[in-house]
């Protein structure tokens, strides 16, 4: 692994820390401390990333490559200090590595270890000193943590005199979510949080006052074909309504969709395969028309056309244990998330066909209501109202029509929620199946029209 920038480097270090936390399967703490040496000019900042995860092995750092030249070379001397211990270790190992040295010849310099005195804990601390403004680092890290929703991170604020520090990420999780939740749930909750904040650190009260306004769905695919590593792709979908146009918040008004992508708990850049997976999805099944998918480096942007959506749709994908992106799995995961969503929320993400069919609902309802209301058979009217669950006095006005319309729409939607492939097809139920061939055509009068058959 090679890094082009300081940002890449510490983001990797933080992601590794998060991964170690997740792997420990316990409640962990991750803290990032930025500490400036007041004397130096340009200011030298010490970045300390510490976690209470499973502990690291030296190999993790041994393989990291840093360019000898470039920006990174100017701001950093290449030296990292690592202190780490596993749960069963009796001491904390300390060593120093110069990442600018050649990977193959690089040798760690072992520093004196600290004794754990029988206390059982694990964790790692990585320190490095860089010439960079604290403000810049802080802003970058904030941004990183906001997007990094693939996991729940709790960072403690530390108030060390003489140092400048900040809680870079702090979230009060809702009671329902717990650390025992699956990584898929974490992804979904994370996406929700991200949506609530519009991707900014400021929560925007005017748009989404609370989590209840969000609807979300999730899906997961595993590939386990006798391989040693289990490939897992998780996807989450969150839909928020576009609020009134008076709202100034930019993100709230644009209906484009950001698709966030994570790999092994860390944000990752968008690959060709990922974009292909996105464009391959049969969006029409969800009533969406994809115009294009654009690689925006940190995320993919889906543009909807020709008419923009009336709601926001947000998507996050997380691939575990994968060396490369599997187009099919990603696609499948997103589709499962969308299906999950459809099943939970009737009337949402209806397929283009269903939407088209739904457009007939008012006309059908009007005709049926007309058949009822123009009838001069009072018993019939009463009976109809009863079936519709209406009171006799409600026979007038548009209430009958409205009720029928809603029933028609719900009947149409029920059909759309059935998983694809086992959709009930009942167009031509012949009592005797012998003639089926002759009438299979939907437009049987038109298609199979006998030109000589006029009557």
């Amino acid at each position: 692994m090679e890094f082009a920038s300081l940002q890449d480097l510490y983001q990797h270090l933080i992601s590794s820390a998060i991964r170690r936390c997740i792997c420990s399967e316990r409640l962990c703490r991750l803290s990032v401390l930025l500490q400036r040496s007041p004397a130096s000019d340009p200011p030298l900042v010490c970045i300390s990333i510490s976690d209470t995860g499973i502990g690291s092995c030296i190999q993790e750092f041994q393989d990291l490559k840093c360019p000898v030249e470039g920006i990174l070379a100017e701001t950093w001397d290449g030296v990292v200090y690592v202190r780490t211990t596993n749960i069963f270790d009796t001491k904390i190992s300390c060593y120093q590595l110069n990442l600018k040295e050649n990977v193959s010849t690089r040798k760690p310099i072992w520093l004196p270890s600290n004794i754990k005195h029988g206390v059982k804990f694990s964790g790692t601390e990585v320190c490095l000193s860089v010439y960079e403004s604290v403000d810049v680092l802080l802003a970058e890290m904030n941004c990183f943590f906001q997007k990094n929703i693939a996991m729940e991170v709790v960072a403690d604020g530390q108030d060390i005199p003489g140092s400048r520090n900040d809680a870079v990420f702090l979230e009060n999780l809702p009671a329902s979510s717990s650390f025992t939740a699956s990584t898929l749930d974490h992804l979904k909750l994370g996406l929700e949080d991200y949506v609530l904040k519009h991707g900014s650190s400021l929560t925007c009260d005017s748009c989404f006052p609370n989590r209840d306004d969000l609807r979300s769905g999730s899906g997961m695919v595993c590939e386990d074909k006798h391989k040693t590593t289990k490939l897992v792709v998780e996807a989450a979908v969150v839909i928020s309504e576009i609020s009134n146009s008076a709202n100034n918040c930019f993100g709230a008004r644009c209906s484009d969709t950001e698709v966030l992508c994570f790999k092994d708990f860390a944000p990752c850049s968008i690959s060709e395969a990922f974009l292909k997976a996105l464009t391959d999805i049969d969006w029409k099944r969800y009533g969406l028309t994809l115009e294009c998918a654009i690689d925006q480096r940190s995320h993919a942007l889906l543009k909807w056309g020709p008419t923009p959506l009336s709601f926001h749709i947000h998507i996050a994908v997380h691939c575990h244990h994968k060396t490369r992106f599997d187009k099919k799995l990603i696609r499948k995961a997103i589709e499962l998330a969308l299906d999950d969503f459809k099943n939970k929320y009737a009337g949402f993400l209806l397929s283009a066909d269903t939407l088209k069919i739904s457009m007939f609902a008012p006309d059908l309802a009007k005709a049926i209501a007309g058949l009822i209301s123009y009838s001069n058979d009072m018993d019939f009217k009463k009976e109809c109202l009863a079936i519709l669950g209406l009171q006799p006095h409600q026979s007038e006005g548009e209430i009958v029509e409205e009720t029928i319309k809603n029933k028609i729409i719900s009947a149409i939607e029920v059909n759309d929620q059935r998983p694809q492939g086992i959709k009930e097809v009942a167009p031509l139920l012949f009592e005797d199946g012998r003639r089926k061939l002759q009438f299979v055509n939907d437009e049987c009068y038109k298609g199979g029209f006998d030109p000589m058959d006029f009557s």
């Binding site: 058949l371 109809c384 079936i387 939907d442 009068y445 030109p451 000589m452």
Partner: protein
């Protein structure tokens, strides 16, 4: 048979509409998307005789319209709109044509054929005939000769002027007091032949629209003159022969067929049919005798099983020495059409000799129009051809 058909009161049809409506909202309330099941009827099949089970009044299966398919929902939309119009017609006891209905929502119906299908579907659903819905056809049929009848209280006395054409009444079911001293009924096709129209404008569009806009075609057909009928009128055929002459001007419409059926039933006269010697002519003949596919559900009231085929037969071209120019080679389409006609089960079952005649036309590979018979002598048709054929038919005791 008549009784059944006539006695279906408006009130009964209206009641059936309410039942249908109720069944739909019951389905909807169960969140079921199956709205309507329509029986299927057909007037023929193309199976071999052993496998054929065509009957004129039995449904062949059901077609269920659901809310799951766009095509079904479109059909439902049309069907319900038409049903609503029909309910209104019946409540106000007004009559309306298919075309009137089409023009109520032209942009929704998009084409007359869509409305026609909906009307047929409704007839099947309500188990009634088109006239029960107060939907009438704009009649194209003509009648002349030795016939007197009343329609809704109005007298029609064709005998007074046996050589002039009268429109076939629109409200055929209201026809009563039929009286005739005629010996037989003669049915003539006279749809136009190729290139018959004067209007190059229509000329160009005719073939193009032929298949899909048969309604338009009908309009065109009505445009054309009705040569054979006119020939007979001009030759004062009915003054010399005691008969009734009817034409549907091409493919006969429902009133013409129904009127003919009533005449045949009431007067118990033999009926002869004279059509062009081409697949169209033959198809017109079968439409009279067996009914059309579209109206198969109502065929029992429309078909005329007693109808005899008088001509023109393929062999007539030699028998009457028609000049070669008048014999037009069958086009590929004609041949295909003829082969399809030969497959129809009712031909094998009921009129095997018709099949032989049709097959003979196919073998000869030429067709001709009735007018071709007039080539040598304008009055040949009325003075020689028809009298001799009819005499032959009447005396050989087929009746």
């Amino acid at each position: 048979m008549e009784g059944n058909r006539g006695s279906l009161e408006r009130i009964d049809v209206l009641r059936k509409i309410t039942e249908l409506t109720k069944s739909m909202i019951v389905e909807l309330s169960n969140r079921s998307s199956k709205m309507i099941s329509i029986d299927r009827f057909k007037s023929y099949c193309t199976n071999s005789l052993e496998n054929c089970c065509c009957r004129f009044n039995l449904s062949e299966g059901k077609e269920t319209l659901t809310l799951q398919r766009e095509s079904h929902v479109r059909r439902l939309d049309v069907l319900l709109r038409v049903l609503l119009i029909i309910q209104q017609l019946l409540r106000e006891n007004r009559h309306s044509s298919k075309r009137d209905i089409y023009y109520m929502h032209p942009s929704v119906f998009t084409d007359q054929s869509v409305v026609d299908r909906a009307i047929n579907d409704i007839c099947i659903l309500l188990q009634c005939s088109r006239h029960n819905l107060n939907v009438v056809s704009v009649g194209n049929g003509l009648v002349m000769g030795w016939l007197r009848f009343s329609e809704a209280g109005r007298r029609f006395d064709c005998i007074k002027k046996p050589n002039s054409a009268h429109f076939i009444p629109v409200q055929v079911e209201e026809v009563t007091d039929i009286a005739s001293p005629a010996d037989y009924i003669l049915v003539v096709e006279k749809e136009s032949g190729e290139g018959y129209s004067d209007k190059s404008w229509f000329h160009g569009s005719r073939k193009l629209n032929f298949k899909f806009h048969f309604d338009q075609l009908k309009y065109l057909v009505s445009y054309f003159e009705r040569p054979v009928f006119q020939r007979l009128a001009n030759d004062r055929f009915c003054s010399r022969n005691r008969c009734i002459v009817i034409t549907g001007r091409g493919y006969p419409d429902v009133p013409t067929r129904r009127f003919l059926r009533i005449l045949v039933d009431v007067l118990a006269l033999p009926a002869f049919c004279l059509v062009d010697c081409d697949p169209y002519g033959f198809d017109i003949l079968t439409t009279y005798r067996f009914g059309s596919m579209q109206m198969a559900y109502d065929a029992k009231y429309l078909r005329i099983p007693q109808l005899q085929w008088l001509g023109a037969f393929a062999a007539d071209s030699e028998k009457y020495n028609l000049p070669e120019q008048c014999l037009i080679p069958l086009t590929l389409q004609d041949k295909r059409r003829t082969e399809a006609l030969l497959q129809r089960c009712y031909l094998r079952r009921e009129v095997p000799q018709w099949r032989l005649e049709l097959d003979s036309m196919l073998q000869r590979g030429v067709k001709f129009e009735i007018e071709a018979l007039s080539v040598h002598n304008i009055s040949f048709l009325s003075e020689e051809y028809l009298p001799s054929k009819i005499k032959n038919e009447l005396t050989t005791g087929k009746f």
